[in-house]
Symmetry: D2
Subunit: 336 residues, 4 copies
């Protein structure tokens, strides 16, 4: 049995992590923390957990958390997360960090996109990126894993194999993503107020979304090329799900069959990547840890379409998958 | 007073056309036709029209329609529409055709994309495309106007000025569109069944949507260049609205300011195009005849974002705008 | 031409009032106020108004407002509204108050349900309730009109005629209402955060919603009986629309036909009440000033179903209707 | 290991049953049938099942099904279901029937509400109603169990204990239910076409919904009184979830506390009934087998509010719960 603590337990990714862990025969949730909710019962913050998890929120120090858990899921906001996680690791527990703090390769890029100094810069570039389909081995032994961003996973899964195989150019890749509103978190604001975002679609953070350097970096790592994407996220009136459409230039003659075969071979043994021939919809993957992905050749340009549940494979499912790898459980435990 | 008949009155574009015309002080709806609904009152098909329009559906011949109306709005399906409209024009009434039948330039392209022989091929290439922002003069005197497709309007409005000014390359333009479900029409099918498309996003007709050659043609006409777009439509769980994101390559050095200024100048006197600095959402334009459009420069690539109400500026509002131009009314009548 | 000022212009009811007034040939919007938005252009708060209304928000005193407008639409919160409106009336302008401040009959009931002392108690009981279908004459000459609540209108329209005709018992009337989220206003909170209220239905304020005494009072006034309702509002994942289902006991033998005939006769000359035989849906009335209403007899109990757009007939459309009556314009102006 | 066959596997309840059974360590899905989908792979009908269930649809006879399965989940339409199920039982397999065929007590009531002769009338009144909270013992040994309707479960759970305790009158009980669209099944029709039912609420089948006699019968069985409800279902623009609000008359003096205590005691040992003090929302129960229920006293009338996931506790979760009871597995297996 592995003891798990969840930091920042009042949000959506924490809720999903809890639901998944409740199905995990080898995981025991031993602490849930929050800095704002006092000593409230978890069910008063997440009514859906009543009768499923009998635990109270606590405001704990890193050493206390490390004393109570073997593995810590940090759903804290960036910057706050790195500070807390560094202390937890030092105190001896292993960490899966849902924030973006350890996803980039160096402190300068981090400072540029996140607009503050990294509190634990030494670990940047050395912390494995928690996408097992690319970095399974490094994840297995790591004290700390950077759980991937939801958009990046949806973009990297289709792009990495095609880049690695040299089928597409690493520059001028368009990544056009459409996300449900839960990706914006649980703090009410005008843009996520129901009558504002319902029955509407809009782009946001065009050209400056923080997942841009993350997609660049991981695609570059996976392919050995210097990848740069033009990333545009859009807000869609639905709870969960991300669909990402990418557009890239083939390096030479390529067929649709070749694109699909390359994806299939790359993910042949992966339990959570489904390379499909039809055009997938986010609903096919909701509440699952799957990424559905396909490719098309349109007027000489490569188009990929991929989708996933932003709260599962885009966050908490990926975390549980990493947890399984880190603690030696079958990778699909609690995720099937 | 101008007498208007509406063909194929049981669908969504017909309903919106009726609502707009009811506000038009110079338009009188004298006939509404349907081949399936027998002699039903319009309110039995569209309950929202009860007490607003007291008229019954009829199954009329072209000559009868022409005898009853000065202007005919055809909401018939393609092919059927051209056949009927040709006869109506011959019988002396003017026509605004909502179908795609007269939007392309030649019979071969039509046959290739619509998979049947055009029933009135002689008018192809001679019928004005009903986007007044580009073809106002031709529309004014035309016996028949090809009302634009919803996706094409959303793509042409941002692209035409930038192409015409030589700011962007005419090839490899990505047009990524997101549309509400009313664009799929009123006939129930599995893909538009609520529990299938709600809470889901998917792409459809990738690489083979029929609006592709229409966008190509009008952008080419507007710019004098041979334009080719990679067009991907997506279905979004909302009633109405289209947001289109385009990605293109600048021809040379260009600034965001230059892009916005070019759009502003092009549409300076246009009552229904709003060039905005913020990122617009479809909700800003719903129930209006506006297109909201902006531009960004992202990593050396031109990104435009535009939105409109697919049933208004994307269909029935455009038709009323054309109607106003054709019959000499102030262009914004019933649309303000 | 009548000059209109709108107080509290950043919310949804103000936005709808503005849109309706823009279509009114005899109304001119001369001031829009807000205490929080500084001197912002109205389009920066409501992007949909760009190019439609060129005016800036101001923070004005009552006397200033009265100097600039003949009629003031107050969309201020309750208590604040009465205080401001009393001063505006004193300064010589007429007022349509969207808040609940003048809807109840006495200061004690007000204090009990709204939990503070009424700032202008003398006008309680003397201010006409702005439901023209019941109080048209009093509205015509009033300096101040209490614009009805959205839920109350949906309940009073079906109940008042049946109560007045003595067909149903005035006690134990169940009013079960379902409302879209715009009824909760524009201030973000957790309950109206998209991922919380989307894909969910819940009841709220059971047994203590402030519209309860308003429904009681107006139904009592309309029927001469002491009416008491059990009112339960529910939040529905949609932007706008209210559907209300009432359950009451017939006083004696009654048929469904008699119920429908009573409603039809009562509303015979009313332009905005549609007594229908089918079961209406809120979508039939969205963006209109109509109430659709029907009745059924189920196992000896009277069931009525009524629906309206909470922002139009439930707020701003009713206000424009009252405005037309107060200033001598045809009642349907800007509402057809 | 228990072998399970699923009849009528192309619909939503079948899909949910499959998903739950895939998590059941003791259940093996050995056959899935469909009369329309030929020999298609289950994933071509339900894309979300790709890589989770590798099986093809078949068109099997009752004896074939009974030869392949110990337990048969019938998701066939009513009438067709009874005919098939009777033959399956005869051939030696046990059956959980999702249709309404065995829920009523006698053939006359069935004929009156379902408008045709019951094909297996002898079993009416003898087949246990699959609500374990009321009929656990009968379910355990039954060859055939009538899986409850979604609306009835939502109404019976709050009403049965209050009726059994004699706290409320058995007559004039109002049951006002709000349901997501998946309850209408997977066959596309105009009323469930997205642009028709999205952004709208409507009542349907008022006074003649077939779940009415089912609620009557089970509440009567549970309380020993002759219960009669006025039942009104409403269609809500969301995928899944039912919230039911009931209104009834207390038999004497009663407090809110007494109501809640009565519910709590009745369901004290039930793993899937959560008696709560707050007002629950359907989202709290989505994807779970819980019913959340509370009670209020409003102006001397008893109001209960209950909610559940119509596809889980309202259908497939209940079926798995019954399966567990019938085959001796812990009742919460695959449902926790």
């Amino acid at each position: 049995m592995t003891r798990v603590a969840i930091l920042g337990a009042s949000g959506y990714t924490a809720l999903e992590a809890i639901k998944l862990l409740l199905r995990h025969p080898q995981a025991e949730i031993t602490a849930v923390t929050s800095r704002q909710e006092g000593n409230a019962h978890i069910a008063s913050v997440h009514p859906s957990l009543a009768r499923r998890l009998d635990i109270r929120l606590e405001n704990l120090e890193p050493a206390q958390v490390a004393g109570r858990a073997d593995c810590v899921f940090s759903c804290l906001p960036h910057a706050a997360s790195a500070e807390f996680c560094a202390a937890v690791v030092k105190a001896g527990a292993r960490v899966i960090d849902f924030s973006a703090d350890y996803r980039l390769g160096d402190a300068d890029t981090y400072a540029q996109w996140y607009e503050h100094k990294h509190p634990d810069a030494d670990r940047l570039g050395k912390t494995p990126y928690g996408l097992p389909e690319l970095f399974r081995e490094q994840i297995a032994d790591a004290p700390l894993v950077a759980n991937p961003g939801c958009y990046p996973t949806s973009a990297i899964v289709p792009l990495a194999p095609l880049l690695a195989a040299g089928l597409i150019e690493p520059r001028d890749i368009v990544v056009d993503s459409k996300s449900g509103v839960s990706g914006a978190g649980r703090t009410p604001k005008l843009t996520t107020h129901f009558p504002e975002c319902n029955e509407s679609v809009s782009a946001y953070n065009v050209g400056r979304h923080r997942h841009t350097p993350e997609i660049d970096r991981i695609c570059s790592l996976a392919s050995g090329k210097s990848v740069e994407v033009i990333f545009t996220p859009h807000l869609i009136p639905m709870d969960r799900g991300i669909l990402t459409t990418t557009y890239s230039k083939p390096t030479g003659d390529v067929t649709e069959q070749k694109l699909l075969d390359t994806l299939r071979e790359f993910y042949e043994d992966e339990p959570f990547i489904r390379v499909v021939e039809h055009l997938p919809g986010t609903k096919d993957t909701v509440d699952t840890n799957f990424v559905d992905v396909t490719a098309r050749l349109v007027r000489g340009r490569v188009v990929t379409i991929s989708c996933l549940d932003n709260l599962i494979k885009g966050a908490s499912g990926a975390a549980v998958q990493n947890f399984n790898i880190m603690f030696g459980y079958p990778e699909t435990t609690a995720l099937a």
